[in-house]
Amino acid sequence: MKIPNINIKKIENLLKEDKRLDGRKPFDYRDIIIESGISNNAEGSSRVRIGKTEVIVGVKMAIQEPYPDHEDEGTMMVGMEFNPICDERYEAGPPKINAIEVARVVDRGIRESKVIDFKKLCIKEGEKVWCVMIDIYCINDDGNVFDASALGAITALRVAKMPVYDEKTEKVKFGEFTKNPLPLTENITFSMTFYKIKDKFIIDPNRDEEDTSEARITIAISCPKKDKIINAMQKGGITPILTDDLNKIVLESEKVYEAVYPNLNKKIEGLK
């Protein structure tokens, strides 16, 4: 069943006083649980739960020919699927527009932050490079799949180990891993998505709040040294976001990053 009008009204009215249905403040996250080592065959894998939302992310690596304009750089692909198990609104079949959108937003955050050192993923210039494939599967959709997917992807990348490459046969020995992690830089991104409901903004909506909102903006922030860098910004939805609002969001995103990220970072470090 789609969201009824009375729930929309309720959410909008409560938000006028900066309140939410489950008692959180507008910029509070639900409990975040991160696990790793979900898949034995993947180079790196993770499961992220934000409240009841749950995604599983796997990182696989393969050998590929480089693109002609980046002959000494590895490549990256992000795939996303909503299974029918995660919500009644999704059907089986190839990824639809909403799944592709999540994949692209996650891809943008990782690619633009340059967290993967693509130069180090080159095996032989112009002929062989590593291809990093990030696959995201939504297990349960209770809102805010964007942030869960981005967090899962970055966790899977950070816990991943390079597979064994046999130089004689020039093939990958799948199932065997070296002890080397992926070549990652310090620009580790964290994405947060702000949802617009009427004139107010909230973070980490649940199902009903996500259905009520009409626009959203995803901001990926990394903090390599002292200063925070905005790596990527993506807007979705139908209503516009005003310039003043955007300035406020950017300032707010810095606060949210400081409040949420250090704890998560510690957790992910512990998983390695």
């Binding site: 069943m1 789609k2 009824p4 009008n5 009375i6 729930n7 309720k10 249905l21 489950d22």
Partner: protein, 223 residues
């Protein structure tokens, strides 16, 4: 059901419930040779000769006489198309509405997105027919809708409404439970939140014993 002292066995599909020639298969069970095998995930009721399963998961299966909460999906010339969260669509004809409604302005009574408390009066091949001609039925205004698993509804209501009355009285809210798992809560903001938490707790702990005491403790403890 809630007050029964004997612990009920939990079975999964394919599990042999009992191997006895005298017993007969009931709801959601099949007989293979001597064995009675479960078809659904649920609790076994083997008090009588017929063995049946009370399922605790799965989709809503509409039955005649069920009171359901549905959302208006579409309006046409003769009534409202209503989603009731099951595998079939439902239809509420204008003639089944107790109030006079102008045929040219059906949306005045209930527009797309509004929720109604209706009763199933017929299930046909093409769909489900609803009616509003009974006490307590009609459009729901204010409050909020939450969803639970339809098979947990008997637990939320309790024996002769004991559980739901307990929640209603201690949170000062109005609650309507649809057999399809949608629940409408209306009251003060705090009361609504409390009632929702209590209902979610009932659903989570549905198969544990001493449920009423737990809920009483929850509602009393945080008042």
């Amino acid at each position: 059901m809630t007050t029964q002292k004997t612990e009920r066995r939990l079975v999964v599909p394919g599990e042999t419930i009992v191997s006895d020639d005298d017993k007969l298969p009931g709801d959601f069970t099949i007989k293979q040779g001597k064995d009675i095998i479960a078809n659904r995930y649920g609790l076994v009721d083997d008090s009588a000769r017929i063995i049946k399963i009370i399922p605790i998961s799965g989709v809503f299966e509409p039955r005649r006489g069920n009171t359901v909460i549905g959302r208006v999906k579409d309006i046409n010339f003769s009534g409202w198309n209503i989603e009731i969260g099951g595998p079939y669509g439902a239809f509420l004809p204008l003639s089944e509405c107790p109030r006079f409604i102008n045929r040219n302005d059906i949306a005045e009574f209930a527009n797309i997105g509004d929720v109604m408390n209706a009763k199933i009066w017929g299930i046909k091949k093409g769909g489900i027919d609803l009616t509003l001609k009974s006490r307590g039925l009609g459009k729901l205004e204010g409050g909020r809708i939450i969803k639970i698993n339809p098979h947990k509804v008997p637990r939320v209501i309790g024996k002769e409404g004991s559980m739901i009355n307990l929640i209603k009285n201690s949170t000062n809210t109005e609650i309507t439970v649809g057999q399809n798992g949608y629940i409408w809560i209306k009251g003060s903001e705090e009361g609504e939140k409390k009632a929702e938490q209590a209902i979610k707790l009932v659903v989570e702990e549905a198969i544990s014993s001493g449920l009423t005491e737990k809920i009483e403790k929850f509602l009393g403890g945080k008042k």
